[in-house]
């Protein structure tokens, strides 16, 4: 048991001795240096362990033999030791990171470094205000000096600006301390109470607190900090951004008890503003370290805000929220700064050199995801709880600002990530430095450790909920295997998983289980066509599939949301694997995250669930408030690509790898449908007074028609299918929104049907892409002769999509129109009719442009798609044919599912289905169609004379002969006349809207960031003005 005072003494002593030691050998001085740092960590760790697990009471160290307030005292409790452990740990690893530089640099940097660490330790532990000032100045001076470590002109000027700002702040601090003493006669914060400061007295507190706050770099008085972040050596800057900030933040935390509430609220709001604006300004930032600077400032703002807002929350929540953000920020920011030291490229698009080293790329991903608040990292949990807290305390403006800020954060972080993973490598690859990589990886391990701790210890999640992450880890370990082996293993894993979760509590779960798990399992077969290793692919795929499954069995909001985020991130990573997928995946991530935030708020508003049954069951007895319904609906509709928020959908579908698109379209969109159905389940019993689902229904039908039109105007086969998915899901959304028996039967029927035909279509297109290497339909044509099996798939599927009897699509159409008309949604039904007629346009377009018409020269020797694509296609076709010929196979169970919530509105008699409006007998229809098909076929075979098979150019061509297949194939811009007829309705208004929204945000960010002129004086002026403004706002 070493007294913590020794860590101060030892640091100081060794710090000053270093210059002497260094005279002998640099090795000795380095040993001493790292020895001290390690000693610090060990001592603090020891204390932390004692406080946390042995229940040792908080330790108070009195200096000079007197008790406080007469003499200065230090305090070490669980909080202090936690902060110190972290700061010292980061300090140690930053030092390791800087090992090479320390070996060569002037010995004074080592001294300064030790003194800096000492200052931090002192600052955290001391309870005396003036002592704080002293430690703060020690910290500052050593930091100022260390800024010149890199010895570039830039870092010098940045350091000077830093000093200007620093001295201004410390002047305020000193004045504050003095006046506090003047008013309270005391300097120990344990003996100062806010009540001692009346009238003018509060100025003293104001000066003190604003000084600390300015050190925390609030927007807009923080230009100096950004310059420092940008210019200073990345090892040092990580210390500044992490260790210094942590210490000062803790300083703020320490003085919080003596501050009046109105101060705190203003600081909280200022923190939120800082968070929002620094993330917004970061949008325009291209330089990595400055970007990180913006992000750090934002994160500190968020920490301040969460410190303030959680003041009245239960202790464990404070620990989770503040601690979560704290750890998250510390680890990820330090890690990213270090990575920037490893990468040595300023521009974020040059970070693609990271692709040269897989483990670094993974680390980069971990830090970035942690920073963005992606589960399972600590930030996610903190955000979740903070949102809940803010909702409960009705701080909605702060909430929306924080979420908006987070969204901006997501945008720039993921832009960075996608650029790193996807942009072409132009920059030179640096040499990797072992000491740097070691420290950085250590942080990655800590991040994962904390994630695991929170999940396991705090929330106590069972293994099944962590399974998606575990899948990534496991596949990562066996990534050296060829992809076919991994694919088979994944298939087995999915089946085993399905078997494990199989005993569902309700039929609706079973239904979605079939869509999610069985559908995925069949789809996996198509991925077996991959050659090579497909590194990382199966991990994310399994993560996504397990997330689908976990969605069904989630028993509370958090589980659901966690799984949802797993699903989002894994699908994002899968989409990102596409060759040109940078923009597409980014857009997907942004929209998904926005949706997720809305859902998060929606869940926060929702009442607590009772019992431990799955959401599908428990939500039936819960009345969701209107706001919750609205937010959740929007969130789920974003995922299902409804009108207005659909623009991510075509990009993501088109740019993802060929065999991934089918997962996204056929299964991922159903997750949105499932979510909406959850809301609907609560809606059944507790419909709110304002019938929000009526409007959801309208959005659904409009999505259907707009999606159909957009699909008709595409040249790219996958985009066409993507818009088609959008249109079909529009039907489903509308049907769910009806909240009636027939509506839900049709929605589920359509969902099932869509899963099958869209999988088949996407896999067929994947096979064609595999052979032709193009997605543009007009570049294909005439492939029916070369790929007949794929043609049959597409033919059957498009008949199923279009709803032409006798295939299963008609069942969906019949159900949905009957439902609409009997529900009184007449005009909506009319729009749906229109949509379904328009769908013929794109369906014909895809089959004609690809398979019919003229075969191109370059495709004359093409072969049928590989067998791995054909097998899943025909499994799905079998499914379609089965439910076409025997619709009862599916209608009966769906009827039962829907009867769980409503009275039945259909009667099933043999193969006939009767509704109150009409009837349909799929079996008879099938037989009659067969008969009607065979009779003319026989007639034709009988009557037709000698049949001469001719080739593609044997066409009547106005007595001429065709020039070339390209010019004879009518496929490009096939529906130009319709576009013309639509006139102004054909403009991409929604796309334009989002585009201009993005442009506006970026321009605004660009406009605002011009306040950072780069002039030190301006920064000082900012600080002064900021102080004045805060002073006025606080009304001191």
């Amino acid at each position: 048991m070493v007294s913590p005072i020794y860590i101060l003494i030892l640091s100081l002593a060794i710090g000053f001795l270093l210059s002497v030691i260094d005279k002998t050998n640099r090795k000795f001085s380095l040993t001493a240096f790292y020895g001290v740092l390690t000693f610090n960590v060990l001592v603090i760790a020891d204390w932390f362990y004692r406080f946390l697990f042995l229940g040792v009471p908080t330790l108070t160290i009195n200096t000079a033999g007197f008790r406080a307030p007469v003499s200065i005292n230090l305090q070490l409790g669980v909080q202090e030791s936690f902060v110190l452990l972290f700061t010292n740990l980061i300090g140690l690893f930053a030092a390791i990171f800087l090992y090479k530089k320390f070996k060569e640099s002037n010995i004074s940097s080592l001294t300064l470094y030790l003194i800096l660490i000492m200052g931090v330790n002192g600052l955290v532990m001391t309870r005396d205000l003036f002592n704080m000032y002293v430690f703060l100045e020690i910290l500052s001076i050593s930091t100022y000096s260390l800024t010149s470590f890199g010895k570039t002109g830039k870092s010098l000027s940045a350091g000077f600006k830093y000093m200007l700002a620093g001295v201004t702040a410390s002047t305020f601090f000193l004045l504050g301390v003095v006046f506090i003493y003047y008013f309270s006669g005391n300097l120990n914060i344990d003996f100062i109470q806010a009540s001692q400061f009346t009238n003018y007295g509060s100025i003293a507190l104001f000066l003190l607190s604003i000084a600390i706050f300015i050190e925390l770099k609030p927007f807009p008085a923080n230009g100096w900090a950004l310059d420092v972040y940008e210019a200073v050596d990345s090892g040092i800057v990580s210390v500044i951004a992490v260790v210094n900030s942590a210490a000062i933040l803790f300083l703020f935390y320490k003085i919080m008890p003596i501050l009046p509430e109105r101060f705190l609220n203003v600081f909280g709001i200022a923190g939120v503003i800082t968070f929002l604006f620094s993330n917004m300004l970061a949008l325009k930032q291209k330089k990595a370290k400055r970007l990180l600077g913006y992000s750090s400032i934002g994160q500190v703002g968020l920490l301040v805000a969460s410190l303030v807002f959680t003041a009245n929350a239960p202790q464990h929540l404070i620990y989770l929220i503040v601690g979560g953000f704290f750890i998250n920020h510390l680890i990820s920011k330090a890690g990213l700064f270090w990575l920037s030291g490893i990468v040595k490229h300023e521009n974020i698009s040059d970070w693609n050199v990271l692709r040269g080293n897989r483990s670094l790329l993974i680390l980069f991903g971990i830090f970035l995801f942690a920073l963005a608040g992606i589960p399972p990292f600590a930030g996610f949990w903190a955000k979740w709880e903070l949102v809940k807290l803010l909702v409960h305390s009705k701080m909605l403006f702060a909430l929306s600002a924080i979420l908006l800020g987070s969204l901006f954060e997501i945008i720039f972080l993921f832009r960075w990530f996608t650029l790193t993973v996807k942009s072409d490598i132009a920059a030179t690859i640096p040499r990797w430095d072992a000491s740097k990589i070691f420290s950085t990886s250590f942080l990655g391990v800590i991040a994962i450790f904390f994630a695991a701790m929170i999940m396991k210890v705090y929330y106590g999640f069972s293994l099944i909920h962590i399974l998606p992450v575990l899948a990534v880890l496991v596949i990562d370990i066996i990534d050296f295997l060829p992809s076919k082996v991994k694919g088979l293993l994944s298939l087995l894993a999915v089946l085993a998983y399905g078997y494990y979760i199989y005993p569902f509590e309700s039929n609706i779960q079973l239904f979605f289980g079939i869509i999610f798990i069985v559908g995925s399992a069949v789809n996996i077969i198509s991925t077996l066509n991959r050659t090579g290793k497909s590194e990382g692919f199966y991990g994310f795929l399994l993560m996504m599939i397990f997330s689908f499954g976990n969605l069904i069995i989630a028993t509370n909001y958090l589980e659901f949301f966690l799984t949802w985020e797993f699903m989002t991130i894994s699908s994002f990573l899968l989409i990102l694997r596409g060759k040109q997928a940078q923009k597409a995946s980014l857009m997907y991530m942004i929209f998904s995250t926005a949706g997720a935030y809305l859902m998060m708020v929606g869940f926060a508003f929702a009442p607590q669930l009772m019992g431990n049954s799955p959401l599908v069951i428990s939500l039936a007895n819960v009345q969701l408030p209107l706001i919750s319904i609205i937010l959740l609906s929007i969130g789920f509709m974003i995922k299902s690509g409804s009108l207005g928020v659909h623009i991510w959908l075509p990009e993501a579908h088109a740019e993802a790898e060929a065999d991934v698109s089918s997962f996204i379209s056929a299964i991922l969109l159903k997750a949105g449908v499932f979510g909406l159905l959850l809301v609907g389940i609560s809606y059944v019993k507790f419909a709110p007074s304002f019938d929000i689902f009526y409007w959801v229904g309208w959005i659904g039908v409009l999505t259907a028609i707009v999606g159909a039109f957009l699909a008709s105007f595409q040249e790219d086969a996958k985009r066409l299918l993507a818009y088609s998915s959008m249109s079909q899901v529009g039907y489903i959304v509308a049907a769910i929104a009806m909240v009636s028996h027939l509506g839900w039967v049709s929605a589920l029927y359509l969902a099932f049907n869509h899963m099958m035909f869209k999988s088949a279509l996407f896999i067929a297109v994947a096979g064609i892409y595999y052979r032709t290497h193009t997605r543009n339909m007009y570049e294909m044509g005439g492939l029916i002769k070369k790929m007949p099996l794929s043609y049959i798939t597409v033919l059957i599927s498009i008949i199923a999509v279009s709803g032409v009897p006798p295939l299963s699509g008609f069942g969906a159409k019949w159900l949905i129109y009957t439902a609409f008309i009997s529900n009184g949604w007449y005009l909506q039904a009319g729009v749906l009719f229109f949509a379904s007629a328009v769908s013929f346009l794109y369906l014909y377009r895809i089959i004609h442009s690809i398979f019919l018409g003229q075969l191109k020269y370059e495709h004359q020797d093409i072969k049928e798609a590989p067998v791995w694509f054909i097998i899943p296609q025909y499994i799905f076709l079998g499914g379609i044919m089965a439910i076409s010929a025997f619709p009862n196979l599916i209608i009966k169970p769906l009827n039962k599912i829907a009867m769980h919530y409503f009275g039945s509105s259909i009667r099933i008699d043999g193969y006939s289905i009767f509704s109150e409006l009409g009837h349909w007998d799929g079996h008879v229809v099938m037989l009659v169609t067969m008969g009607a098909f065979i009779v003319p076929l026989l007639i034709l075979l009988l009557l037709v004379g000698k049949t001469q098979k001719v080739k593609q150019f044997n066409i009547v061509y106005a007595a001429e002969r065709p020039e070339s297949p390209q010019t004879t194939h009518v496929a490009h811009n096939m529906y130009a006349h319709y576009r013309k007829a639509l006139g102004g309705w054909g403009k991409p208004r929604i796309w334009n809207f989002w585009h201009s929204a993005s442009e506006w945000t970026h321009s605004l960010a660009d406009y605002f960031r011009h306040i950072y002129t780069g002039n030190g004086q301006t920064y000082v002026l900012h600080i002064i003005l900021y102080v004045v403004v805060i002073y006025i706002v606080m009304g001191v």
């Binding site: 004379g945 001469q948 080739k951 044997n954 007595a959 001429e960 002969r961």
Partner: protein, 213 residues
């Protein structure tokens, strides 16, 4: 009889299509037209009766005579009374009217269109030019006799023949059809090489397959 290899027979049945570039040969059918026997007597009589009453013209104005076809359709002469109607595509038409003089450039198109019609197909050659060159008998660019290039069923002389003459010609054609005398399709298939030789002799840049299916 000498036994021939099956492949060889097949090869003989194929056309060489030498006029086409190598790359384009896969785009055109190379099957050779062959004779198709009529149905049995009574059935053939019946369908001939129907064929004669449902003559579908190929609406392709190959020469100045095409101007005389228009009045035929209008109210004054109205050949639709006889079941005669225009079709816009050779695939569906059964009667091809060569409307007067045929330049070399036109004869190429005439041959192509004729070959694209489905048998049984009938040709009416209209105007003196188709018979012996008419007033263009000495032109360097106008053929003299259409029947050297495609089989003709009925000639209508005149320069130009009036619509009444055309109707008379149609009636003559109908009679012939009903008697089963119009078998130009088989005649063409039987004498395919001779026709081709004549055609190729005047059509110099032969950028089409030997038989346009």
């Amino acid at each position: 009889m000498e036994k021939k290899d099956l492949n060889e027979i097949e090869k003989e049945m194929k056309l060489a299509n030498e006029g086409l570039p190598e790359k384009e040969r896969i785009l055109f059918s190379d099957a050779r037209p062959s004779r198709v026997e009529p149905l049995n007597k009574y059935l053939e009589q019946f369908v001939n009766w129907a064929r004669a009453r449902s003559l579908w013209l190929l609406a392709f104005g190959t020469g100045c005579g095409a101007t005389e076809l228009r009045p035929l359709m209008t109210s004054r002469f109205d050949v639709s009374r006889f079941g005669i109607a225009g079709r816009p595509t050779p695939r569906q038409a059964s009667v091809f009217i060569i409307g007067g003089y045929a330049s070399i450039k036109t004869i190429k198109r005439i041959v192509r269109s004729y070959e694209q019609m489905q048998g049984p197909k009938y040709v009416i050659a209209l105007g003196s030019c188709t018979i012996n060159g008419g007033m263009y008998y000495d032109s360097y660019n106008t053929i003299n006799r259409i029947d050297y290039y495609i089989p003709v069923d009925t000639y209508i002389a005149g320069c130009m023949p009036r619509p009444e003459a055309l109707i008379a010609g149609f009636n003559r054609l109908k009679e012939k059809i009903q008697k089963g005398e119009c078998d130009g399709m088989n005649k063409y298939a039987d004498n395919f090489d001779w026709y081709k030789k004549n055609q190729k002799q005047i059509i110099k840049d032969w950028n089409m397959p030997d038989y346009n299916w």
